[in-house]
């Protein structure tokens, strides 16, 4: 039980990390962005490429920061991947979303993002192939916290947890304490009025894409680090991320992180409550339960 | 007190720690045009929201025509003959102006699934009658030329007029108007008032929140003033005009 809860929080951490960026995008651009999943994949693959590059060029970087499996090269690669993904996100916005945004309702955006996701995912398949890849063959070993009951944790996951919490705090402060954050929220509510109030839409949108893009790259990379990397990761990882975002309440970074934990814990507890075959349904059942009690998500605001 | 169509007792509403309406007890005389005035934030709209079922009161009761209706839903109240307009207009933006009106009448046969599917003739008949009535109301609120226009694309004042028209479509017995004249051109306001008085003569009861003092003073009787969630004053327009507290809190200078 304790282990299951702990597992939930730890696996939930990585979902939280993904959800932070998504909640921002969904809040600001007011549409469920399926291509966000592919941003995760772009980030993870970009890390793969740069990781290979750096560890080849500068072999010293290939040391892992014990007890993590994260190496210097990968850490560096991740930073660059965050940039690459941020920029990709902006480019995708320029090419597709911006134009649709100007003259259609958000649903068109949702399905445009679905189309974009198909394209990106399959371009990745064409470039990298279908098969699973890893940053490092090394298997992260769990540390035993206690033998009775048996409680195990992996340092990588603790690291991700801390990172998610730090990012959550940082982003929350940005949104609630800085005028830039106000601007983001203002654009989310009423773009025209935001313009009247002196906010330059394009700047804010670009900024949000860059933030969300880089967060997704970080989430994608760390997810691939703790699991594996294949062209479907975006797709596989996206569902829990969406679920976390929504159960937490769109637009709330606290909610996103809490939602991540809820989804993580739900899938951990699923096996205790239901036969394993039902595992995929469990997080959704919990979400349904939460939403029945709080229709706008845990921290969401009632529109209007 | 059988001439009271609406009876409010100890009506209270809190928003968090803030008490927006604080134990308001009132009765609205059947067939009156009651004016409700008071400073901004006095709780007038909140009071309307509670009476009309849009907000649940924290405590207190509302009786409509002698029947306790506290906590009833807005839709149920509307069907019992209580209509209201919104201070900040809420048109159905992607529906045409006339559809906004046609929506309102209760007991439409075509509003049930079997009716819509299988009672074509009766539905069409009813539609025709309603359409005529809607057209008439549109003419009266000067929106007839915009009948097929999307309601989201009319001017701010026109939206207020649409609000009024929509409420009238339901043939209510009591109608709560939240600042019907704000943003409406004075010439048109005058016409509206004529119409309201005519409807009133035919028995419709009006409760009107309004900041336009000419309007209130000339046409409302009685006048009730709220301030900080409480009833500050109740009386005739004449009395209101000279009430020192009101002058200070609300009117600012002798009107």
């Amino acid at each position: 039980m304790i282990q299951a809860l702990l597992d939930g929080v730890l696996t939930g951490a990585i979902i939280s990390l993904g959800a932070i960026g998504l909640t921002l995008i969904m809040h600001m651009l007011r549409f469920a962005n399926f291509s966000y999943a592919e941003l995760l994949a772009i980030g993870a693959y970009a890390s793969l490429v740069f990781d290979g590059l750096f560890s080849a060029l500068v072999p010293v970087l290939d040391q892992a920061f014990a007890p993590l499996t994260l190496t210097g090269a990968l850490a560096l690669a991740m930073v660059i991947a965050m940039l690459v993904t941020g920029v990709s996100a902006v480019i995708i916005d320029r090419l597709v979303f911006r134009r649709i945004r100007q003259n259609a309702d958000p649903l068109s955006m949702v399905f445009a993002s679905f189309g974009v996701a198909l394209v990106i995912r399959n371009v990745i398949v064409l470039i990298f192939g279908h098969h699973a890849q890893l940053y490092s063959q090394e298997i992260a070993r769990a540390h035993v916290l206690s033998f009775d009951p048996l409680i195990l944790i992996k340092p990588d996951q603790v690291f991700v947890l801390c990172l998610a919490l730090v990012l959550m705090l940082a982003l929350h402060l940005i949104l609630t304490r800085t005028t830039f954050g106000f601007a983001i929220r203002a654009v989310a509510e009423n773009p025209t009025l935001a313009q009247v109030a002196g906010v330059r839409l394009s700047t804010v949108i670009v900024a949000v894409w860059i933030i969300a893009g880089s967060l997704s790259a970080a989430a994608g990379t760390l997810y691939a680090l703790t699991n594996q990397l294949n062209p479907l990761i975006g797709h596989v990882f996206l569902l829990p991320v969406f679920a976390a975002t929504i159960v937490g309440g769109i637009g709330s970074v606290y909610g996103a992180v809490l939602g991540g934990f809820i989804v993580g814990i739900a899938s951990g507890l699923a096996l205790m409550l239901l036969p394993p075959g039902y595992a995929p349904a469990m997080p959704f059942l919990i979400i349904l339960a939460v939403l029945i009690l709080r229709p706008q998500g845990l921290f969401g605001e009632d529109p209007r | 007190m059988n001439d009271s169509i609406l009876t409010l007792t100890g009506l209270t509403r809190d928003f968090g720690a803030f008490r927006a309406v604080d134990g308001v007890s009132l009765f609205i005389r059947r067939g009156s045009i009651t004016g409700l005035i008071g400073p901004n934030g006095a709780g007038k709209t909140t009071l309307f929201n509670m009476v009309a079922g849009t907000l649940k009161p924290t405590s207190g009761t509302v009786a409509l025509d002698g029947k306790d209706v506290t906590g009833r839903s807005a839709e149920a109240l509307f069907r019992m003959g209580l209509a209201r307009t919104f201070q900040i207009p809420r048109p159905f933006k992607r529906m045409s102006v006339i559809d906004n009106l046609l929506l309102a009448p209760p007991a439409q046969i075509g509003e049930s699934v079997p009716g819509a599917l299988f009672r074509r003739g009766r539905v069409a008949e009813q539609e025709r009658a309603l359409r005529e009535k809607a057209q008439e109301i549109l003419e009266f609120v000067t929106l007839d030329h915009l009948a097929e226009h999307p309601a989201g694309k009319i001017s701010g004042g026109q939206m207020k007029l649409l609000e009024l028209g929509r409420a009238l479509m339901g043939d209510p017995t009591v109608i709560l108007l939240d600042e019907p004249a704000a943003g409406v051109n004075p010439t048109l306001t005058a016409i509206l008032i004529d119409r309201i008085e005519e409807l009133n003569r035919r028995g419709m009861t009006f409760v009107i929140i309004e900041h336009d003092m000419d309007f209130v003073m000339r046409h409302c009787d009685p006048v009730i003033a709220l301030a900080e969630g409480k009833v500050l004053f109740e009386g005739t327009a004449e009395e209101a005009r000279v009430n020192p507290e009101l002058l200070d809190a609300y009117l600012g200078a002798p009107a």
Partner: protein, 324 residues
């Protein structure tokens, strides 16, 4: 030639089934604003319902009622409607993405259920069907293809007729009103809970009919048929075709289904041999690009909703002239 006709009949059969489902969604989204993310659940409920009622007995397997086709499919539709009713009652207060993720969850849960309940649904092995309706009367497969197409078209026409009646009646008007502004609709005496429930249930029953028709044709259903991609396809059909317009919905269904399948056909014809293995991925890229292009070209859909009887512009002009 016969082959072409036969394939065309098949293509239209599938597109017709998709169009039926899309019409159901149009009632829910286009006219009521319900973001149903679990279309496949209702499709599946209809399909499994039809299958369980219509197929013959098998060892260790619930069902085997062997009911006549029409009864079975009606049962499937009712089953989908019942599921929708339960889902509706639970999720009535949810909106937008919140409703979408909940209904999506319902679909995942249903998939889990059928995948794991061997006794009821055959588990991952799926359920075997029953002889296709009227097949024994027709005999040859080519003619049967046309007969089945006719069945689908009749259902499509019925659904179309029903929905058109509904949405062009005061009922439809009330649906659109609650889509726009629930608070205001309530203040005008409309009961959003009732209306949304009706819309959800009717739309889902229609989706269930699509599922029932589909399994009547394939004579087989398995959890593989309950994957979310169907939900996405149907949504893409509605959005590309134009939400709030039934002609748009049907056009979108035919178009997207065409893109989805014909792109594969075209690739096997046109792409060089060296690319055949990647054709699957390339096909997805094509599909994605086409959806995006269509949305870029006509973001509001090919046949968007008409708000007034006359197009806005002429109404404006008339208004202007009237004023001057």
């Amino acid at each position: 030639m016969i082959g072409l006709v036969s394939y065309l009949a098949f293509f239209l059969t599938m597109a017709g089934i998709m169009a039926i489902i899309t019409l159901g969604l149009n009632l829910q989204w286009g006219y009521t604003g319900l973001f149903n993310g679990g279309i496949v659940a209702f499709f599946g409920a209809g399909a499994y319902g039809t299958m369980i009622l219509g197929s013959g007995a098998e060892p260790d397997q619930f069902g085997g009622f062997d009911l006549p086709w029409l009864v079975a499919i009606t049962g499937g539709v009712l089953f989908a409607a019942a599921l929708a009713w339960v889902v509706g009652v639970l999720t009535l207060r949810l909106k937008h993405d919140y409703l979408a993720i909940s209904t999506f969850g319902v679909a995942v849960a249903l998939e889990s259920l059928v995948r794991n309940s061997q006794w009821l649904t055959g588990g991952a092995r799926g359920l075997r069907g029953f002889p296709r309706p009227f097949e024994d009367l027709v005999g040859d497969t080519f003619t049967y293809g046309l007969v089945f197409l006719a069945i689908v078209l009749v259902v499509l026409a019925l659904v179309w007729w029903g929905i058109e009646r509904l949405v062009h009646s005061p009922f439809g008007r009330a649906l659109r009103a609650i889509r726009e502004d629930e608070t205001a609709a309530r203040a005008l005496g409309k009961n959003p809970a009732r209306l949304r429930l009706w819309s959800l249930v009717i739309g889902s029953a229609i989706m269930g009919a699509g599922g029932g028709l589909y399994v009547s044709y394939t004579a087989f259903i398995s959890p593989q048929d309950l994957l979310p991609v169907l939900t996405f396809q149907v949504w893409a059909m509605l959005i590309v075709g134009g939400a709030g317009n039934n002609r748009g919905a049907v056009l979108g269904a035919v178009l997207i289904w065409g893109v989805w399948t014909l792109s594969g056909f075209a690739l096997t014809r046109l792409a060089p041999d060296s690319m055949q293995l990647d054709a699957g991925s390339i096909q997805y890229i094509l599909i994605g690009t086409l959806i995006v292009t269509m949305l870029l070209w006509r973001p509001e859909g090919l046949l968007p909703e008409r708000i007034s009887q006359e197009p806005t512009k002429t109404a404006d002009k008339a208004a202007l002239e009237a004023k001057q």
